[in-house]
């Protein structure tokens, strides 16, 4: 039975975190009254023109630099034409010929066989990053055979990140997207919350036999979470393999992922292959970016985007933060992954370490095993933890000074979780969990036990 090589590429649209839209001054905000965040330009009224938002350019440059891309000092805007009710202009302004950033890479990690202790690093090439407009939202009302259109989202800035088909399965796709999400959130260029549509992923999937050319690919859309991304990709790979092994063929089509059924289904026929009739956007000159060397002397600061200035101010990326945590605190690499995977957990950990004498290598156990499992059980984010880093540090100090045993500490932690405002010391005294250190007192307790159980003692002494 011949083996199959699955090939997975991704097109990711990340909504830029900005106050106003890419080419107009209307506000960017989730869940506002319909059509309240729409300017005349967004509604494509005649006589309006696009005006580029500087913040969006900076966000794209930051993201390009973080993904090791070459930043194109001159990039161009184009029109991509198609008809749809939520695209009032009949075209989208995008960057098809020369995008703002090209040829980058993203490194991500996977656990082998679900064992966190065996992590392997993979890389996916970034083909390009381009700036483009988002479309409005269509709400389909099948019952009344109509579509309701809300243009609040029309014109919001997007960064499209194209990942080359270097991935081979759902797990790799999910890990790559997760890492991209963390990078975007660290940069602040996008909040990248998939549930709010700030991060949308389309997967391109095909299979072929080793040594043979790539197979026909399908595009999978409507993926609403990282978990579903893995499922959708793996399902599509299986579907294609089964289809081909049964003598069928794969159509170059767009399929939608149905999360309830866990499968992909063909999307409504899009009238055959689309011809977008790309043309240069006639209302926008080329976008010119500068660096320290090419900085023009007499130009208004506000009109200049300096790539080097942005590069110097890039925050530590997740991979750097993890390496620093491992080096500084002696924790394991897989620990650093978990710390960065939960919003606020790394800061919490560092705060506890600052306030306790317990070694970081021991503290991490409390963070990852106790705190994290309680948070997960109660579906709480770190910032809503009833146990603050101060309280936990206090508790760990009692443990470290051997004033309580570790099982007693776990009891105290459970009590602290109730959030009744008691300190660890108060709980210890209340529940009488103190470890007895005094030799004489210990002898007294043992003697009492022996005295109370005379018969058992006699049995033991006699053997």
């Amino acid at each position: 039975l011949a083996s199959w090589v699955p090939v997975v590429g991704l097109e990711i649209h990340a909504q830029i975190s900005s106050n106003s839209k890419l080419f107009s001054g209307s506000q960017v905000q989730f869940a506002a009254p319909p059509n309240s965040l729409v300017s005349f330009f967004d509604a494509s009224l005649p006589g309006t023109l696009p005006v580029l938002n500087r913040r969006c350019v900076e966000a794209a440059v930051m993201t390009g630099l973080a993904l090791n891309c070459s930043i194109n000092k001159k990039s161009l805007f184009d029109r991509k034409h198609y008809f749809y009710a939520d695209l009032p202009a009949g075209y989208q302004i995008t960057q098809q010929r020369v995008p703002i950033a090209v040829n980058g890479s993203l490194s991500y990690s996977l656990c082998i066989d679900n064992k966190m202790s065996q992590m392997v690093t993979k890389t996916v090439r970034i083909k390009q990053i381009q700036l483009e407009q988002d479309s409005g939202k269509s709400l389909h009302d099948d019952a009344r055979s109509q579509t309701l259109v809300d243009l609040n989202r029309a014109g919001v800035g997007l960064m499209e990140v194209v990942m080359e088909p270097d991935m081979c399965c759902g797990e790799e796709a999910a890990a790559a997207v997760r890492e991209l999400q963390l990078i975007l959130q660290t940069l602040g260029s996008s909040q990248a919350v998939m549930a709010e549509g700030q991060l949308r992923v389309d997967a391109n999937v095909s299979v072929h036999h080793p040594g043979e050319p790539y197979g026909v690919r399908t595009e999978v859309k409507n993926i609403n979470s990282i978990r579903f991304l893995a499922k959708a990709v793996d399902y599509e790979i299986q579907r294609q393999i089964e289809e081909l092994e049964n003598g069928g063929t794969i159509l170059n089509e767009t399929r939608a992922f149905d999360s309830k059924l866990g499968c992909t289904i063909p999307m409504r026929d899009k009238e055959g292959k689309q011809d977008y009739r790309f043309m240069p956007e006639p209302n926008l000159p080329p976008l010119i970016l500068y660096d320290a060397k090419s900085l023009p002397v007499n130009m208004n600061h506000q009109q200049v985007v300096n790539i080097d200035w942005i590069r110097e101010r890039l925050p530590d990326l997740p991979s750097v933060k993890r390496a620093k945590l491992v080096e500084l605190y002696g924790i394991l690499p897989e620990h650093s992954f978990t710390l960065l995977n939960e919003d606020g957990l790394a800061e919490y950990f560092e705060n506890v370490v600052k306030q306790t004498q317990m070694k970081p290598k021991k503290v991490i156990g409390w963070i990852l095993n106790d705190l994290l499992s309680y948070l997960k059980q109660h579906a709480l984010p770190v910032k809503e933890s009833p146990v603050s880093s101060f309280l936990l540090a206090d508790l760990l100090n009692l443990l470290e000074r051997r004033e309580i045993s570790s099982s007693a500490a776990k009891q105290v932690f459970e009590e602290l979780w109730k959030g009744e405002g008691k300190t660890p010391l108060e709980i210890v005294k209340e529940k009488k969990l103190e470890l007895i250190q005094d030799q004489k007192e210990l002898e007294k307790v043992c003697q009492e036990v022996i005295d109370r159980q005379e018969d058992e003692v006699i049995m033991m002494v006699l053997g």
Binding site: G25, Q27, N35, F41, A43, R277, L284, P285, I288, Q302
Partner: protein, 108 residues
Amino acid sequence: EQVTVDVLDHLEHLALVDFRNAEGVERLRKAVQFADQLHEVNTEGIEPMDSVLEDRCLYLRDDDVTEGNCTKELLENAREKIEEYFVAPPGNIPLPKLEERETFLQRS
């Protein structure tokens, strides 16, 4: 020549233009012919210019909220609206195929 019935039909689908009659098609053919004169210019080794704006500075705007909040005005243009949403048909209504359309192109 290049401006065949298939090309015209394709354009009518993509751009929803209506060439309407032989005169419209002839105008298109003349326009293509006029533009073809560009081929006589030797452009070897010369970067194409795609916009007369290429030397202009692309103005960058500050990221401030300066527009929006004009729902009522925008909806005035809508033929149909429901609770501040624009109403559209359930999906794109494609132009019928050439054979099924009443267009002079069929008789070309």
